[in-house]
């Protein structure tokens, strides 16, 4: 049955590409999470009236986030080619896609972290201060736990966007399902290969969404 529907699909190759896509998505999501949290917390704490209120830091971080969030991803990949080459010595393969994926997604997530933190009741932060909490305590025991559902929804959305980014990166040779769909499917005019790759990408997206929704719901005690 599958043989007749997808006559041209080389399944072991398809599996290899799937693993590459999952690898790229997982690794870039991890780094995006870490860098995005740092950016978001910095943006939040340096904004007026907050613990580290600092106009200069706020403007610099804000500008960095806004610039990299605004560059279309496909252009960002091209712009980052020299940087990637310098960093990894190559511009091909899943690892070479990493700088572009992270630099494209982290500022986007950083902005979502900022929005999540702004939703926290100011009174709770004041209460922690009134108990004599250090800034580090406020970050790790108040800001992050109190915004956890929004942080999880944010990383879910970002991670799904990253699946899309890996496919785009695939077109310029990062590997994964994007490369397969483009080279084997589109360029050799084998529609079934493109279709199979698409279905697998959809399944990956659904699984991420499911896990994200479940975790966000589980964390929310409001």
């Amino acid at each position: 049955m599958i043989e007749t529907l997808f006559p041209n699909v080389d399944w072991p190759k398809m599996w290899e590409a799937t693993v590459e896509t999952i690898y790229m998505t997982a690794l870039s999501t991890f780094f995006t999470l870490v860098i995005g949290l740092v950016l978001g917390v910095l943006l939040f704490l340096s904004s007026p009236g907050q613990l580290w209120a600092n106009k200069f830091a706020n403007v610099v971080t804000g500008a960095f986030v806004n610039i990299f969030r605004s560059i279309p991803f496909i252009i960002l990949i091209i712009l980052l080619i020299p940087f990637t080459k310098f960093l990894l010595g190559t511009i091909r393969g899943p690892d070479a896609a990493m700088p572009a994926l992270i630099i494209g997604a982290a500022p986007f997530y950083g902005r979502m972290v900022l929005i999540a933190l702004q939703e926290i009741d100011k009174g709770v932060i004041e209460a922690a201060k009134s108990m004599g909490a250090k800034t580090r305590t406020i970050i790790f025991k108040v800001l992050l736990p109190e915004s956890m559902p929004a942080l999880i929804s944010g990383i879910t959305v970002t991670s799904i966007a990253l699946v899309g980014y890996t496919a785009m990166a695939g077109i310029i040779g990062a590997g994964g399902l994007g490369t397969l769909a483009f080279l084997d499917g589109f360029q050799r005019n084998r529609g079934d290969v493109t279709l199979a790759a698409t279905i697998i990408i959809l399944i990956i997206v659904f699984i991420i969404q499911f896990i994200g929704d479940f975790a966000a719901r589980k964390m929310d005690k409001r």
Binding site: V124, E126, A127, M131, G132, K141, R222
Partner: protein
């Protein structure tokens, strides 16, 4: 315990400059329940935040015990805050933590070991009457229960001063009373100094020893609660006192009785302390040939004694009424003729 001297607090610069607190000097004694009353924008929120360094004065000094709060910062200020804790109008609990974990939070901040933390939390839960709700999340609690968690959390590090920022303003009257009882109990049992701010005279009346009335950043009146109730000086204080002694129905009753019996004299009697237990009125009726209509009566119990007010209409000839009023003065009852306009 607490000394405020010549506190000024301004926000903004130049033409946007706002004075929130203006030349306030106060002394609050050890173990006292001290109330600050004022309408919103009177500067009371700023004043209470000066006491734990959440706000720093523009000029003047804040001293708690031997520590000058307005002169310290960093680690020293953070440690001082563990001894000057605070509860809030909207409770400000962490929704992501259970009751137990919320109460443990200040202990975590103070670096208390886990076993000691659990012991202290269990004691506090017992103290504020939340046994059985340890593992509930704040979203599962009523307003009164949330404030109990807030109080337990504030007591975790054995503070010397408890600051209450409109702690009962979001609660219904019954819950307010139970929280006020809890605060009084804590004050008596632990000898804690309590400073509270509110816009409800009821709260002041029920638990405070002394009160400061604030208007436009200034303390316009200061004294024992009973004294302030008995003879309020500033117009705003009078308004606050009538919040309790003359509810809206009284005005309606007065208007009605003036229509019915335009000839009588309306007088308001004020009783304080033991006089509230004396049968002054019976004596008046027996001695004088006047008809007495009771328009409204009210006894409020303050922390340092009872305070009663009674509005009467006296019908009779003028000379007798004057004599009757003189009789009341002899009995140390303050009177005030309410004019017929």
């Amino acid at each position: 315990m607490i000394h405020l001297s010549n506190i000024n607090k301004q926000y903004g610069d130049g033409s946007d400059r706002i004075t929130a607190v203006k030349d306030v000097s106060l002394e609050i004694a050890d173990g006292e329940i001290f109330g600050v009353i004022g309408y919103s924008g009177a500067g009371k929120s700023t004043l209470i935040r000066l006491l734990n360094g959440l706000e720093m004065p523009t000029s003047g000094s804040v001293q708690i015990g031997k520590l000058e709060i307005s002169a310290i910062k960093g680690k020293q200020l953070r440690e001082a805050r563990q001894k000057v804790s605070m509860i809030f109008q909207h409770f400000n609990l962490l929704w992501s933590r259970t009751v137990k974990e919320n109460i443990a939070f200040p202990l975590e901040i103070a670096g208390v070991q886990k076993a000691d933390r659990e012991k202290k939390v269990a004691e506090l839960i017992e103290l504020v009457g939340l046994a059985g709700r340890e593992n509930a999340y704040p979203s599962e609690l009523s307003g009164g229960q949330k404030q109990r968690v807030g109080i337990a959390r504030a007591l975790a590090n054995d503070p010397e001063v408890l600051l209450c920022d409109e702690a009962t303003s979001a609660l219904d009257p019954e819950t307010t009373d139970s929280i006020l009882d809890l605060l009084t109990g804590i004050n008596e049992r632990l000898g804690l100094t309590i400073v509270l701010i509110t816009h409800e005279m009821h709260v002041i009346r029920k638990i405070c020893h002394r009160v400061a009335v604030m208007e436009a950043g200034e303390v316009v009146e200061l004294g024992d609660v009973l004294e302030v109730f008995q003879s309020p000086q500033a117009p705003i204080t009078k308004r606050f006192v009538t919040q309790i002694t003359e509810p809206v129905e009284v005005k309606q009753a007065l208007a009605h009785i003036k229509e019915e019996l335009p000839t009588g004299t309306l007088i308001k009697l004020v009783f304080v302390g033991e006089q509230t237990e004396q049968p002054v009125l019976a004596g008046l009726i027996r001695k004088f040939d006047v008809d007495v209509n009771i328009v409204q009566g009210n006894i409020s119990h303050t922390h340092s004694g009872a305070y009663g007010s009674l509005i009467l209409q006296l019908v009779g000839d003028e000379a007798t009424i004057e004599e009757a009023i003189r009789y009341l003065h002899e009995k140390d009852v303050q009177t005030e003729v309410i004019s017929n306009d």
